[in-house]
């Protein structure tokens, strides 16, 4: 089947619900309406309103209910209409779900999925990348696929995982990327990065919609004789330290690219890992290209200035290549 990123998500949800009666969905407007981005379109017809639950507008109650259901052996998948609203249930996620297994041995097999990211002029409250609030919290897993096939395979793993997983879907990708995906295809393990483009001269470590930008830029730089490797992290927690160190040891030059804002972004953590584990292999300072430390602005020229750009990435990679 040729599936877009959002189709792949729906396909994975449907297959997991068919495979395991413990899987059910809850969220705002996900039933008859099919979700704000139609990620759950049609699922209520197949599985019924008891397993595709339209809820009141109450994020703490939704996530709390998912945690409770998970304690009884169910595998709830919560949709956040926009991941920005996850701030409303921060306590349920970081204090209830994340600490549950550590504190008293009670696993919380729950997925919270929904759209993140900018580039669609959503403004300050419909464009954020909240991953680091959660990647910082022990006990949570944080996943962000960059391709339709990864969206499909990683979501399957997230649903089968016994821990709370935040599954961040980049809304810019929902209908812009498409891939051939086999029905009932394999799950893709969490915590394993993928080399999206092999290269010899330098490495771009990135994830989410920035993988597309990295691939396009690498293509452009190939004409200038710079052979860039692109590493797609896919999972931010737990991080694939081995994959990160391996690409650095291979190319000896690293740039970390993310759409998340700069301070406290994953780039800082990756830089520290490379200092600890690959210092002797580095031929250049580690560079970062990220969004600015501001809220996500609304107007297109403002948002363009906020986000990492193709030009900015090219310039940074040329600089890195010169070392």
């Amino acid at each position: 089947m040729l599936l877009t990123y959002v189709d792949a998500i729906r396909q994975a949800l449907a297959e997991e619900m068919r495979r395991d009666p413990a899987v059910f969905l809850l969220g705002e407007d996900i039933g008859i309406y099919g979700g704000a981005f139609k990620a759950t379109a049609g699922l209520v017809d197949e599985f019924g309103p008891a397993r595709v639950v339209d809820t009141p507008l109450a994020e703490s109650a939704i996530v709390g209910a998912a945690i409770g259901a998970a304690y009884t052996g169910m595998r709830p998948v919560v949709e956040m209409q926009f991941m920005d609203f996850i701030a409303c249930c921060f306590n349920q996620i970081t204090n209830f779900a994340a600490k549950s297994h550590y504190r008293w041995g009670a696993p919380v097999p729950m997925v919270i999925r929904g759209p993140v990211g900018g580039g669609v002029h959503g403004g300050p409250f419909h464009s954020q990348n909240p991953e680091m609030y959660f990647a910082h919290t022990p006990g949570l897993k944080v996943v962000e696929p960059a391709t339709a096939r990864d969206a499909y395979g990683l979501l399957k793993s997230a649903i089968r995982d016994n821990n709370p997983v935040l599954f961040l879907e980049h809304k810019f990708l929902y209908r812009r990327v498409k891939e051939e995906i086999a029905e009932d295809g394999p799950a893709i393990p969490l915590g394993v990065a993928a080399v999206a483009r092999p290269g010899r001269d330098l490495s771009v470590i990135t994830y989410g919609a920035m993988v597309q930008l990295a691939l396009e830029t690498a293509q452009a730089l190939a004409a200038e004789g710079v052979d860039a490797e692109v590493l797609d992290l896919r999972t931010l927690a737990p991080l694939d330290r081995g994959g990160i160190v391996a690409t650095a040891k291979k190319t000896n030059k690293v740039l970390i690219l993310h759409e998340d804002t700069r301070t406290g972004g994953i780039a800082g953590e990756i830089t520290a890992i490379l200092q600890e584990e690959a210092f002797d292999d580095l031929d250049a300072p580690i560079l970062r290209l990220t969004s600015a430390d501001t809220p996500v602005p609304f107007s297109p020229p403002l948002e363009a200035a906020f986000l990492p750009s193709a030009e900015g990435l090219k310039a940074a990679l040329r600089r890195l290549a010169r070392y």
Binding site: E59, G64, I67
Partner: protein
């Protein structure tokens, strides 16, 4: 800007409001706490009459054996807390200790109303409910002492533990209010597997002000979940009196806002508490949705052991000292002829003896090995996962209850009996 200076315990609500809940009480408390200035200091002042309480309200559903079992739990609760205070004073407790003095009847009788297949989640003062649910006093003690043998192996303290196994108890977190949606979710998960269960938890007059309380009660109402929510109105949230918490005289009235039934009970009357909770549990079993129970009582000690509660007017304590739930229940049992003075003394001695043994066991547990701190953040393959148990009727039950609210849009005040 200043909040209303009057704290009226119970009787401020107009009669029209009272129609929205069932009231099992045999007395309405008439006293007022006024914030005033005395000799340059801002204080709370009592006015009212210190009366004696009526006898308990006959239950009709509890037999002698059950009453005596409840009585034993009450004694255990109180004597255990005396031991905890003692352990604290000897420096054996890590951190503070929280007490439920004066609230034991509410903790024990509410938990006693659950079936073994139901679920519960305690708040910090509900130590009696832990005992009812099958935890041993030594578990409670070791948890406060941060011992290796504690239910969390020293990873957390106070009443922060649970059991997904036979005791079906969810561990609370410190953030008040956040247990409520989780308990609703328990009912949702069980219903998807074909069972209507009750899920009980407690919340204070303070905790009831949180946003998540409102989200969760509304959610349970709309989804028709068997939440049994006991609002422990003990008149104080740490040092904050009721009237600085809410303008509502009877917290049960809030149920009206969610279209669910509510009951008000005298929280020092074990039989009222049991009857209200049992009714709510049975409603949950029948797929009838959530119930809010307001239990009116008094926190008879400070917020925690460090708090002398000097802000509480002494008359208020005297008023409630006459309403000690254990003494009131004892009198009931005497009157029924179910407990002789001799039997009572024997029971107290036996529980005291038992508690000393429990305490010795708790003291004997070592402190945890520091290395155990580093594991168990994730439940990895091989870690125990909870397996669902689907009943044959699961889809039908889930559809019937889950969709019930959709047909009830016309039903104004369906709980009015």
């Amino acid at each position: 800007m200043t909040p209303s200076p009057e704290l009226t315990a119970a009787d401020r609500g107009a009669n029209s409001e009272r129609e929205w809940f069932e009231d099992l009480r045999l007395e309405r408390h008439a006293f007022t706490i006024r914030r005033t200035r005395r000799e340059g200091k801002v204080v709370y002042e009592w006015s009212g009459e210190i009366t004696d309480p009526p006898p308990l309200r006959e239950s009709g559903s509890l037999d002698r054996a059950q009453c005596l079992e409840i009585y034993r739990f009450l004694l255990m609760n109180r004597i255990m807390e005396q031991q905890l205070e003692n352990l604290y004073k000897q420096g054996q407790v890590v951190g503070g200790v929280y007490f439920g003095l004066g609230q034991e009847g509410n903790s024990v009788a509410s938990a006693y109303a659950l079936d073994a297949t139901d679920w519960m989640a305690p708040m910090i003062r509900n130590q009696g409910s832990l005992l009812v649910r099958g935890f041993a006093p030594r578990d409670v003690m070791m948890q406060y002492m941060a011992k290796a043998g504690s239910p969390t192996g020293g990873r957390d303290g106070t009443s922060h533990y649970g059991d997904l196994g036979p005791r079906r108890m969810i561990s609370p977190i410190s953030m008040l209010g956040d247990l409520i949606p989780v308990m609703g979710g328990i009912c949702m998960g069980e219903r998807l597997q074909g069972r209507n269960v009750a899920a009980m938890t407690w919340i204070g007059d303070g905790g009831q002000s949180t946003g998540v309380f409102h989200e969760a009660v509304n959610f349970a109402a709309v989804q028709n979940l068997g939440l049994v929510l006991v609002v422990e109105n003990n008149l104080w949230a740490y040092s904050t009196p009721l009237n600085e918490q809410t303008k509502v005289a009877d917290l049960a009235l809030r149920a009206r806002g969610y279209g669910i039934p509510a009951v008000v009970v005298d929280g020092t009357d074990v039989l009222q508490v049991y009857d209200a909770c049992r009714g709510a549990v049975e409603r949950a079993h029948g797929g009838g949705g959530p119930t809010l129970i307001e239990s009116k009582l008094m926190r008879m000690k400070g917020h925690a052991i460090h708090d002398a509660a000097a802000y509480v007017p002494p008359e208020l304590l005297e008023f409630w000292r006459r309403r000690d739930p254990i003494l009131r229940f004892e009198q009931y049992l005497r009157q029924k002829g179910w407990l002789t003075a001799e039997a009572q003394q024997r029971l107290v001695a036996e529980v005291e003896q038992f508690m000393l043994a429990e305490r010795a066991a708790a003291e004997a547990s070592p402190m945890p090995d520091g290395n155990t701190a580093l594991s168990g953040v994730y439940c990895e393959p091989g870690c125990h996962a909870v397996q669902p148990r689907f009943e044959a009727a699961a889809p039908a039950l889930a559809a019937a209850n889950g969709g019930a609210h959709l047909t009830a849009v016309e039903g104004d005040a369906p709980h009015l009996r």
